[in-house]
């Protein structure tokens, strides 16, 4: 299927709809591309001792979990060839802005100093190889999640550059993300007005479930929402959004249909056991509705499209849901078919771009009257 030849989105009829893709994966052209940005001490370390300690050790349906048709003619791996990314993805679908999300995370290193060096190198690489060469791209600040003070330093390093629009974590942290040890990171995010985004994936060594290691990738992949549920629970009950009232938190590639049920469950627990967390002074759902954002892919797909509309209603609206394609991975969602046909045009406008414009402060969505 030659998808880049068939741009199925009718740009004429939707010229007011801006298209923002909140999850486009980019990869280095070669194994040592990132190493070139490391100082000598860590370049040596990288060459001799590099390995990851990730727990999500499952084969991913295809090499690197990529779409078979996303291998560029150049022979580079998917997501590594900017020209092909433009042609197959940005141009083909008329994407106005794509937020890039590098395919590995520096927190997959147990050595915290190396993790910090790697984060800095990957951010420099992101800027030089991607953001400076393609104005439609926006970057994600990689941080050494498990050394929050170093993470704060890394955030300060890039916060002035508005091409970086968020701070980027993997969902698989060493401890639940709301715990105090991570608050330095949140402090830096809030004071720099940068959202913190959490993407599917285990950077650390834990089993992906609270019941140990499942046997199959299907469980790792479809079960990822349990990890997100645990992280959102931690954010709610540790009082992160009470302590950081201006912090935005984005859930990427975790699904979102589970969120309304989780909010009901959090509220039910809080009504009974809230005495354990007196710092949470409002129903958790209220806090989450004010601070959480979430992306579409991989969307839960109820067989009955009315049930999808019900999800948005139960979530309290469509103003926090943002389109993501997950290009170039096997479970990619195309912009023209990601949403069920039952979604109204106005809702579609918000989900496909306007919400992301609002969150990330992207100027392209602002009309002449200054309305987002």
């Amino acid at each position: 299927m030659d998808i880049q030849a068939i741009p199925r989105l009718n740009k004429e009829s939707s010229r007011h709809t801006k298209l923002v893709d909140c999850d486009v994966h980019v990869a280095p052209v070669a194994a040592d591309s990132i190493a070139a940005y490391l100082p000598q001490r860590w370049r040596h370390h990288n060459a001799r001792f590099y390995r990851t300690y990730q727990g999500d050790f499952y084969p991913r349906r295809s090499e690197y979990g990529e779409r078979f048709d996303a291998w560029p003619p150049s022979g580079l791996r998917p997501g590594a060839d900017l020209d092909f990314l433009r042609k197959q993805h940005l141009d083909a679908w008329g994407i106005d802005i794509a937020v890039i999300t590098p395919i590995t995370h520096p927190s997959n290193q147990a050595n915290l100093e190396f993790s910090a060096a790697l984060a800095r190198a990957m951010n420099e690489w992101q800027l030089e190889v991607w953001l400076e060469r393609e104005p439609r791209l926006r970057g994600s600040i990689l941080v050494p999640t498990e050394d929050p003070e170093a993470a704060a330093t890394e955030i300060e390093r890039w916060a002035h550059d508005h091409r970086f629009v968020q701070i980027y974590l993997y969902a698989g942290t060493l401890e639940p993300i709301g715990r105090r040890r991570y608050w330095k990171l949140f402090e830096a995010a809030e004071s720099n007005r940068l959202p913190v985004a959490m993407h599917f994936g285990a950077a650390g060594p834990h089993a992906p479930t609270g019941a140990g290691f499942p046997s199959f990738y299907l469980e790792d992949h479809a079960g990822a929402s349990t990890m997100f549920q645990d992280q959102v629970t931690s954010l709610a009950f540790e009082g992160v959004f009470v302590a950081f009232p201006n912090l935005d938190f984005v859930l990427i590639e975790g699904g979102f249909a589970w969120l309304a049920p989780l909010m009901w469950r959090l509220d039910a627990a809080w009504r009974k056991l809230g005495g354990e967390v007196p710092h949470v002074d409002r129903p958790p759902s209220e806090l989450l509705r004010e601070h959480l954002w979430y992306t579409t892919q991989p969307m839960e797909e109820p067989p009955n499209p009315q049930h999808f509309s019900a999800i948005l209603e139960q979530l309290g609206g469509d103003e926090r849901l943002m389109f993501a394609s997950d290009y170039p991975h096997w479970d990619f969602d195309a912009p023209d078919s990601a949403l069920p046909t039952s979604v109204t045009p106005e809702s579609r406008r918000r989900i496909m771009g306007a919400n992301a414009c609002r969150l990330y402060g992207l100027e392209l969505c602002t009309d002449s009257k200054g309305n987002g």
Partner: protein, 371 residues
């Protein structure tokens, strides 16, 4: 307060088109380890007495901190552990006699996998089962029993299922929902095979303390997180049972998810079905949509209710469940889930759905004789 509650409970039962109620989750509270001593063989009786009963009591407290509001109804004195006889009397007063209960499924969530010594775990499970049979099922014909097993030692678990699973009052084997490996793993298959061979339901029940962190991201700070997070455990376990082909291997297996909540189920199945379509070549023995296995093999107990408080959202949720045969009524007695008995059942169910919830679904699932 109790009198008023009982009146309200009778009223509620009167509203239903059937007089009968099956309560699928009540608990035999272990008053003390001493209650089990007479059921232990000499070697273990001496061991438990001499080495200190505090250690051996922990499994009954760890998942339900005794002082936590959810662990006991406000009418029950948290400082009084009482006796087995007073526990049974309270169960009769508050549940069996106050609703028109034809049957109640009783379990003792004393999950022995917490003991690092598997032999003492096996002995304590056997004693707890013998105590349940002798002091709860024998004197009270409306009770049906759930036995516990050393789940992390499948050979021992199978022996225990074969030892007491044939007792006419036993209808279920309960496994703690927390485990070191997901229950679909091949090491556990003999447990499911043995349960099905005895005609028993396997119930996954809140609780367990296998030593590994209760989330995929380490240890949370608060009990309230564990309370919420158990829904994620049930999701991981259900996904494992289906993906590993346990239902394909044991076609007449029935699994109850007890105290799991249930508002998460539709979203879980949408995602699971979708991913199965893309990844099913990895597990060719799963030859149907995951949701089809759930509809054929799985039921969930009603309390603790974790659905929305907004009526409109609840109605949408009923539609999303797409079945009125998944839920079974439960009080979760003596744990505290609602103040007013009128709140025991969420509103908005049709008469037909209510009859199924209160009685018919559980009667068929647990193969209980008609009241």
């Amino acid at each position: 307060m109790m009198t008023e509650g009982m009146v309200r409970e009778r009223d509620l039962a009167g509203l239903s088109p059937t007089a009968h109620v099956i309560d699928t989750d009540v608990h035999a509270t272990l008053p003390s380890v001493e209650a089990l001593l007479q059921y232990l063989p000499e070697q273990w009786r001496e061991y438990v007495s001499l080495w200190g009963s505090t250690y051996f009591f922990r499994p009954s407290q760890i998942s339900y901190p005794p002082g936590a509001p959810t662990s006991r109804r406000p009418t029950i004195d948290p400082n009084s552990t009482g006796s087995t006889a007073s526990g049974l009397a309270a169960l009769r007063r508050d549940v069996l006699d106050s609703w028109d209960v034809s049957h109640a499924i009783v379990s003792c969530p004393y999950f022995v996998d917490m003991f690092h010594n598997p032999y003492v775990g096996e002995a304590m499970a056997m004693a707890a089962n013998d105590w349940l049979l002798a002091e709860w099922l024998d004197p009270e014909p409306r009770l049906r029993g759930s036995i516990i097993v050393p789940a992390s030692q499948p050979a021992m678990a199978v022996r225990e299922i074969e030892r007491v699973g044939g007792h006419p009052g036993v209808v279920q084997v309960v496994l703690p929902v927390r485990s070191a490996r997901p229950y679909g793993n091949a090491i556990y298959h003999p447990i499911f095979e043995a349960a099905a061979a005895q005609g028993l339901v396997v119930g996954l029940h809140h609780g367990g303390w296998p030593g590994n962190a209760p989330t995929g991201v380490g240890w949370p700070s608060f009990y309230i997180e564990e309370w919420v997070g158990r829904a994620a455990h049930f999701q991981s376990q259900l996904m494992s049972l289906i993906t590993e082909g346990v239902f394909a291997r044991v076609p007449d297996l029935r699994v109850a998810l007890i105290e799991a909540g249930w508002s998460w189920l539709p979203a879980f199945l949408w995602r699971f079905d979708k991913d199965w379509k893309g990844l099913r070549r990895e597990t060719p023995w799963v030859d149907r949509l995951p949701s089809a296995y759930v509809r054929d093999h799985v039921k969930l107990t009603l309390q603790p209710y974790d659905g929305p408080s907004e009526r409109r959202h609840l109605e949408l949720l009923y539609n999303q469940l797409d079945s009125d045969e998944l839920l079974m009524f439960s009080t979760d007695y003596p744990h505290w889930q609602y103040d007013d008995p009128a709140d025991a059942i969420p509103p908005g169910l049709t008469d037909d759905a209510l009859t199924k919830l209160l009685y018919l679904t559980a009667r068929e699932f647990y193969r209980l004789e008609d009241a």
